[in-house]
Each structure stands twice: as C-alpha cells, then as structure tokens.
Symmetry: C2
Subunit: 526 residues, 2 copies
C-alpha cells in the first residue's frame, strides 16, 4: 500500500501530542471515534497511521506529527487532496500542515510546470540572472494606457509583464480588447528589438467561460497567463494548466488566512511553493518580505525552496517575490533568491512611469550588476505562440474524411452493437459511431443508427438534449404527447428529459443521425 | 454608482486605524500607492472609499472600518468577489472581514437557496421542529453497509441522511453503486412508511466530471446533494446550485483557516452563514460548539443568523450544527438554534448502530419533547424527484421539428448573413442556423451553409474542432496539405487549429452542414 505522508505542527502539552495526532488521523479519514470502527479492513486500509510525534527542537510546546494516509484517500482529482490533508482539521485549533510527501501514483495525477525555469529561459534567451517582471495597473486605466506601459517595459528590456490580478473584465469583448492591445504593444517591441518580452494577461472569467477565454489566448498567440488558484479552485487550475500550453503564473490572492498564525493553517512554502508548482504554475508570485505584506524572510525563502527544489517528477517553478522591491534592496534579494527568480517590481517602476522605459533599463542594469555572469543569447526554444506548439496529438491529427458509400456506410467506420442495457428493450437497430469515439476533441458525438422495417429503438429519456436527423427511409419520433415523421434531412431537437423512441414506419431501412453531447448521462427507461 | 460595502475589523493602535483602512481601500482596488493615481476618474470610480472607522466597543485596540467598493469591481462572477473583499488583504496582518452588504445588481448574480427552510419543510411535511439529520460513515464501509445505515435511519423517522464528506469515489461506477444502494434503501422505507426521508450523496467528482455526476443524481431521482464550496471553488458551486434543482447541503471542510484568529480571516457567520446561503446552499453544516471543534457558542449563533436572517432576495438556509450533539444537550441546542435547524447527529447515533433505527426514534422523540407544537402533516409540495420538477424552461420546451423542404431549406429557419468579420474574405455564402441559436441546451450547434458556384468560405482556423457534412452539390475542403471532395453525406472532421476553407467545385449550389461546439473561439485568418 502506498501512502500520502503529511507532517503537522501541533501546539499542545507534551502529554496530549500523541492523542491529538491520533485524533487527526481519525478525523481526516473516517470521522468517527476509534471505538466505532468495527472492521479490521477499515482500521488497516482507511484510518491514517501516526508514524511519529516528536518535539520541535528549540520551540517548547510544539510537536511534529507525521501521519501516513492510504494513497487511495487522496482521490483521483487534485482538489480532494486538501479534504484529506487539511479538511475538517482546519476547523480545529493549533494544527498546522507543514509538509507533504506523495507516492508516485498520486504525483502522476498532478500536472506540474510545463516549462518551468529552464523552459522559460529557453523561450526568452535569458540565462544566469533573475528575470525582471512587472504588473500592468492600476485598474481603471484604459486599454491604451495599459498597452503603453507594457510597450515601454518591453522597450526597456523587461522580461515578463503581467496584468494586475484586479484587471477583471465585465465581458469577453472587454477582455479581448485589453489583451489585444497589450499583446500587440509588446509584440511590436519584440519584433523591433529582436528581444523577447512575455506578456501574461489575467485569466479570471466566470467559470463556465474559462475555456473560451483560454482558447482565445492560445488562438491569439499569447504565450502566458496569470491565474489565482484559490479563486478558481484547485481542480479547475489543474485542468487548465494541463490543457493549455501557456506559461502559467500563479497569484496568491485569497490565500493569506492559511499563513497568518504560525500554529495554524498551511506553511507558505507548502501552499505557494510546492502546491502551486504541483498544480502546474511555471511561476509563483508571493509578497516579498520587507514590503507591505507580512511574510518573514524565512517564509519567503521557504516558498522559493518549495517552488524549485530538485524533484525528479516536477520541473522547477520560478519564485516571483513581489512588493516592496527597490534599487536599494536588489543586492539583498539577489543573495536571498539567486538567479532563478522573477523580481516582480510594480510600484518602484511605475512611480517613475513618466519614463518607464528608462527606469526598466536602470533596473535591469542593477540586476546585471548583481549577476555579472548573466548572458542574453540565442534562445534555445522557438518564440512560438502556444497555438503553434504541438499542444496535443489533436493538432497533429490527420484530417478525417469519412466518405459516404451508396449502401449507407462510411469508409473507415463499421456498425457496432446497439446498446447493452437490458432495461431498455429495442428491436433490429444497428449503430455506427462516426465522430467522437476516436479521440476527437469536439464537445459532441455523431452516430448513425439504422432500424429495420418493424424495428424500434428503446423508449428512454436522459438529461442531455440531442438532435436527430433523417438519412434514409422513413420513421417516426414518438415523444409521449407528440409524434413526428422523420424523412431524410428532417431535423428534430429532443429536449432534456423528454421521453422518446424512434420507429421504422416504412418498408425499407430507416436510417438517422444522432448528434449528441460527448459528455452525457446514460439513458433511462421512460 | 452602487457599492459593495465591507466592514473590516482592524487590530491596531488608534492613530493608525484610518491609515490602515485607507491602505485596504487602495490595495483591494488599484494596488498602487495613492500618489501614483493620476486620474480623477480612477480616484472617483475605482478606489475604495473609507466610510467610517470606529472603535469596537468593549475591545481596546480594535476598530471597525467600513469601506465601499464600486459594485463593478465585484466582477460578473461570484468567485471574483473574494478577490475584491479579501484577496491581497488576506496576506496582511490583523485585518478580518466581518460583514458585507451588496447592492441589488450584485445580489441578482447570486443564486441563493432554491428551497430553503420552507421549501424543504413542504417537501418533507415536517413543521415546527428541527430536522434530524445524520451522516453515512465511516469510509471503507461497503455500499451495502452504508445503505443499511441509511435505511435504518429512515425507518427510525430521521429526516435527512447525507454521505460523509470523505465518501469520495475513484470512479463514476463506484459513485453510482454507492448512491443507488443508499437511495434505494431510503426510498424503500419512504414507500413503506409514507414518510419522507431525504438522502444527500456527496458530490465530489473531478471538476470536468461534475455535470455528469450531477446529471446522474437528477436522472436517478435523487433530490439532494452534499458539496464542499472551498474545495470546488465558489464560481463552480454557484453554477451547480443554479443549474440543478437539488437540495444543496454545504460542507465547511477546508474553511477553518479563515476562522482561527479572531483578528484575521473572515467571520464564520459571514462565510458559512451568509456566503454559503448566497451561493445557493439550502443548508449549511458547521461544527457545533462544545464538540470536537473550536467554534464558540456565539460564533455558532452568528452562522445560524447569517444563514436564515430575514432577507427580501434570499430564502433562509438551514443551519446544520454538527458534532458533539447528544441527548443531554438537546434542550440547550433547542434554545440556541430554535426550530428551523437541522441537528446533524453522527457519532451519538452510530455509537448505537446495532440498533440505529431505535436510537433514531429515541432522538426524534427527544426533539419532539422540546418542540411539543411540532407536527407532521400532509406535505405541501410533491415528493417529486428533481428530474420531475420544472427545472428549466428546457424541460417544458416543445419538441422542435425542422422538416426539410425540397429547396434545401428547413421549416422554421431562415438563412442569415454569413459573417461580419472583414478580415476573412469569402464569396457567395449563405448560412442557416438550425440548432443551438434558439436556447437549446446541447453542447453543439448545427448550421447549414450554402455556397454558390464559384464561391468559397473564408480561409480560417480556430481552436475548436468541428465536423462538416455534405448536403447538396459538390465541394472541396482544403486544409493546407490535404484537399477532400465533399459530396452529400460525406463527413469530415477538421481538427483543432487546422487551417481550412470550403469551395464549390460544381455547377449547382454546394450545401453542407457544419456541426460545431456551442462554446467556441472565433475563427482567425489562416
């Protein structure tokens, strides 16, 4: 059996530490007291196992408890892992999750960074120094004003320009306009200078519009995006980063309550470093110490460690300390974070925004002074937009051409069994899957059914709606209150939950296409 | 201008309170220091306005700051609201969000409970007393064992039986089996006794499977479900509760870090009471005081208040205190929470699970002793499964029958302009929207295009894949490297991002169907 191993920091009296650890192991798995577990299989295979409870050296009244959870409990989707690690237990006092170790089978379900440190260096052609990043703001500026800032930053030699996470659009049209202008401004400079500045728009649409917005970015040639995992939901973010080949920048908004109390919540290095990296962020933004937020130097370094410590499965993710960064502090930052860092500098650049290009250049020179070995050379990777990348096998797929034959079959497709559900009687029906069962990426399937004279399909209903179109012969679509003749090219829309059945009412085979959502519920007897 | 008004509790020296309030107003809106805002429009329409900063009476060093944010900044989707209310500010110390007031335009975007207190009473036929609820557990039990518990609880007269939130399935088949058995066990008792016990399975699938799982519940006749808003993401939950007519029970897992420090995070009454209600939860589960979690009596009462205080826009949501509930405490609970409460009793019932039916009955009798005015009467609402309810206009929609006419038109549909994008030249093309543009719920659209002899469609590409099917005449599908003839009934699948163009190569009109995802990106020149 494989285990997810979690380390908790407990704040308690020494004589209670073991008991508390055991309570956590029960609460997070079975949620009943020990005496109510009456099966050895549950005790052995479900309940968490307390591996060790040791005093934290140098801190009296603090203990590190290591609990192993059966890997099955982490679920097959990534959001569920937090239910296991820190679900109910978040509602108790004085328990902080400080580190997590995952077995191979759970690690495989996590996307991890697609580009990471080396991948982005190869895209930009910038080696052996931190990247200089900035944020477009303030909200309320026009798209032209934001685009001008983006262009000036690129012209000054900046590496990464992201939207402020407060740039949220009321409509898709607004999003498009804002993104288009900033992207064009940066690309115009890229073409002129031969350098490469990456632009990352804020992706924060209503959840049901997420794919539409992300597809737009890919389509438009944009190569990066900013996301806020705590607002979008972890599972949604893992889906996004896995699906779209953008450089993903993770933003920490709304995560702060996990970090406020050192005896509660989740260690910042685990959440913003390790976890954001596992979720597929290529960079993780966090408030730098000494600025207007509350992280300590030690916490910031732990985030950087979580983001880019060596790992065989996950590429390193860029730590991107932000806030309170100034010329004076560059030497300190260089020492603390090293070369594989994005210095995200907002206010200190904008405060000189009358000449943002000049101040960007000065900042870059200050970075180069700290990293004399830095070099800008021919990038190892193409400056391809995401839509030019081999994003999926889909993009390389040969166009499929299913030519129709006079016997009402299609080249490359064969008829299959109608359906195996014996609750749904039917007679003399054959089915041919045309589109959707062969790895296509459409949201729908197209199938051809043929019913012999005297035959009928099952009477059924389901939540998904679908469309029927006649191909040959003549049939009847019965839907309880209404019946409709279906002849070739006739279309019928069958609404959600409407009982329906098709019958051949002629003397030759009755053939029809069924166009139906790819993700759909099973038909039920009606 | 309308405003979202937020009240924060600050812990600071009196002379700093105004300054901190002003910093919050800037941080949450423009994220730049005041001196960098150079436009009056931004100062007036974007920056938060500090309305008042007053000492909290009875607590030295605590201040209540009221900040008004322009309603536009709350975004058009509900998750974004937390970016505005407590995004970056969560990363600062000693600031807690304690209450929020929304203008009408923002309230309209929130689903709110569909059934609420009265709706569920009318479904169950139980009036003037708290409901008795329990949880199926522990994880690791077989579906048969869980179903037996559910049946026994129903037989004992229990009102609501939910899955434990740790009951998470590795596959859809497991989910189905578990739900089917428990639901059937409860329904069997319902039929036998004429009473109504509600079963709420845990809905916690991978995010891309959410609709499939939810549709299964609706389809199967299940009337309720348990969800964990902090794991799923707020926007996702609002979509779910709006779309599926289930009774939704909200679970607090993973929310605890917001509540741990009284000087930080979000007040529990706001998050678990008001916010879960706004999101569409009909009941909100929270750990009762005096049990194994850390809420105080006052905090629990504040959750109940947030859940069901009078509101013209939102029905009341059931508070469902859980944990540490025993016979001894029923009188206290009755006094604190009143009749419109679900008493969620797990351990105290299960500890007597050799006779769960009997202990359920005894618990119910103890509740009735506290609420002598309670009555069970003919339910005012049908015991309809969700799929029998008028869930959307969709379910009432008349079957649409588009009969084909010999001139290659369809009854009820007319040709429209081809497309307005002048970057994409075309010649002699007409378009008829057949399915998808008229409020259908399919994930795809069906359109008919006709190209006159010598004409062609635009050469374009897009992220979404689609399908072309010949209807009349003869044409050519060009895709860069490959060209294919399209005759009637020929099908072609055009993969994602493949450049393509259709041409009429014959002497009569070339007509074809295009089947395409309903949500899709715009075509671009290729």
């Amino acid at each position: 059996m494989e285990f997810v191993s979690a380390t908790y920091r407990l704040r308690c009296a020494e004589q209670d530490a073991e008991t508390i650890a055991r309570e956590i192991a029960l609460e997070q798995t079975v949620e009943v007291p020990e005496e109510l577990i009456r099966s050895a299989a549950i005790s052995d295979d479900v309940v968490g196992r307390v591996r060790s409870v040791l005093p934290v050296s140098g801190t009296s009244g603090a203990f590190a408890a290591v609990i192993d959870y059966p890997a099955d409990l982490a679920g097959t989707h990534v959001g569920q892992m937090w239910n296991l690690l820190y679900g109910n237990i978040s509602l108790k006092r004085h328990v902080r999750l400080t580190s997590v170790s995952l077995p191979a089978e759970v690690r495989r379900r996590l996307p991890g960074p697609r580009y990471g440190v080396d991948g982005l260096r190869d895209m930009l052609g910038v080696y052996d120094r931190p990247l200089l990043a900035t944020a477009l703001k303030p909200r309320g500026s026009s798209p032209e004003q934001l685009a001008a800032l983006a262009g000036a930053f690129a012209a000054g030699g900046g590496d990464v320009v992201k939207d402020d996470h407060n740039l949220v659009d009321a409509t898709f049209a607004e999003f498009r306009e804002r993104v288009d202008r900033a992207f064009d401004a940066v690309e115009e400079v890229n073409v002129r200078t031969g350098r490469r500045t990456l632009y990352a728009p804020n992706l924060s649409p209503p959840i049901q519009e997420l794919d539409r917005y992300a597809e737009y970015l890919v389509q438009r040639g944009v190569r990066a995006a900013l996301i806020a995992p705590m607002l979008l939901g972890f599972d949604t973010v893992a889906q996004l980063t896995r699906r779209y080949p953008l450089v993903w920048l993770g933003h920490p908004t709304f995560t702060g309550s996990f970090f406020h109390d050192p005896d509660h919540g989740v260690a910042p290095g685990l959440m913003l470093g390790t976890w954001f990296r596992w979720l597929g962020c290529d960079a993780t933004i966090f408030p730098n110490y000494g600025g207007r937020f509350s992280f300590s130097r030690e916490e910031c370094v732990s985030i950087a460690d979580g983001a880019r410590s060596p790992d065989t499965d996950f590429k390193p993710c860029w730590p991107a300390p932000a806030g309170g960064m100034s010329f004076d502090r560059l030497s300190e930052m260089a020492t603390d974070y090293g070369a594989d860092t994005q210095f995200l500098i907002g206010g200190a650049l904008l405060s000189d925004s009358a000449n943002l290009e000049g101040s960007t250049r000065r900042f870059l020179e200050a970075i180069l002074a700290q990293f004399p070995q830095a070099n800008q050379r021919e990038p190892a990777a193409a400056w391809a937009s995401a839509c030019e990348l081999p994003m999926t096998t889909e993009a390389r797929k040969i166009l499929e051409h299913l030519s129709f034959r006079s016997d009402f079959t299609w080249r490359g497709r064969a008829a299959t069994a109608y359906k195996p559900d014996d609750r749904l009687p039917f007679r003399d029906v054959s089915r041919t899957e045309l589109v959707g069962a062969f790895g296509e990426s459409t949201a729908f399937d197209v199938r051809y059914f043929e019913i012999a004279p005297g035959g009928y399909s099952s009477r059924e209903r389901h939540v998904h709606a679908h469309v029927v179109m006649g191909v040959r012969g003549k049939g009847m679509l019965d839907t309880g209150d209404v019946s409709q003749t279906i002849s070739p090219w006739d279309l019928a829309y069958v609404p959600s939950l409407r009982p329906h059945q098709l019958r051949n009412t002629g003397r030759e085979p009755f053939g029809f296409l069924c166009i139906v959502d790819h993700n759909r519920d099973r038909p039920q007897p009606a």
